[in-house]
Symmetry: C2
Subunit: 158 residues, 2 copies
């Protein structure tokens, strides 16, 4: 019952704390998004370490992504990613049709400009988790209709 609630409420508080009440400039907002993304990165690293403690080695990149979509997502949000697509050239799109950390914002376009604040942490989570599994990536997110959301993962070949 309400298992994900503590995380969800704490996440909201973090966003409010970091971004503050006032609408600051674009540069400031950018810096704050970076801060929140970094927090997500470290949480993702810690979390994936715990989750993969007793997992066998992953076959390949796609296998890693499936783990992120299933086990990692379920641990965080009590549901799996609804759709995973890839171009088989290092780009993956993870679609969550009811993303929990947006679910407290009204649907519709009214708060669409607020969405990036609520996605940065999760971009960091995914990037951190992948990083600890040896996969370097760039993760971005976009919302077209709340609370559905797409995370795009671009694998960085070394």
């Amino acid at each position: 019952m309400a298992d994900e609630a503590p995380f969800q409420f704490l996440h909201s508080e973090v966003i409010q704390y970091v971004f503050g009440a006032s609408d600051s400039g674009d540069a400031e907002t950018g810096r704050n998004i970076t801060k929140v993304e970094s927090m997500g990165f470290r949480v993702g690293q810690g979390l994936i370490e715990r989750l993969t403690k007793e997992t066998s080695r992953f076959k390949d990149e796609l296998d890693v992504m499936k783990f992120i979509c299933k086990d990692f997502w379920t641990c965080l949000f009590k549901k799996q990613i609804d759709n995973l697509r890839t171009n088989h050239q290092g780009i993956y799109v993870l679609q969550d049709s009811k993303f929990q950390l947006l679910s407290h914002l009204s649907a519709g376009k009214q708060y669409l400009d607020q969405a990036p604040k609520y996605l940065a942490f999760t971009c960091g989570l995914v990037r951190g988790a992948l990083s600890n599994l040896g996969v370097k990536s760039i993760v971005t997110a976009e919302v077209s209709i709340m609370p559905a959301c797409k995370f795009q993962v671009m694998i960085q070949k070394i």
Copy 2:
């Protein structure tokens, strides 16, 4: 599996973010403890609202405290408070013999001075939850042996 981990890792990040890496002065530490306690307060308010949505009215103050020790604590930390004591005059002592948010610090006395940073948020959680149930309180915490911990709740009669 690892259900409480996202909350736990995020809490650690919040503490690091708010307190920073450097050892600042006592006044600064005090202000930061207040900030973290306030975050806990708001999370506690939100959480108790969700948890009590379908709960029947509480009989009395002790009944409220029992709910905090069982349902509220379990939602947050996947375990109940181990011991609840009261003097029946508005003071309650909640003892957690293995407090999750301290469990990543080494046992022993080495990090005892770091403990208050990791307890402030939870003091706020309890105060916020009680406040939303109409009970005004002051909540403090102390650690004698890690990771055991006591929260003292002093009810403020109006």
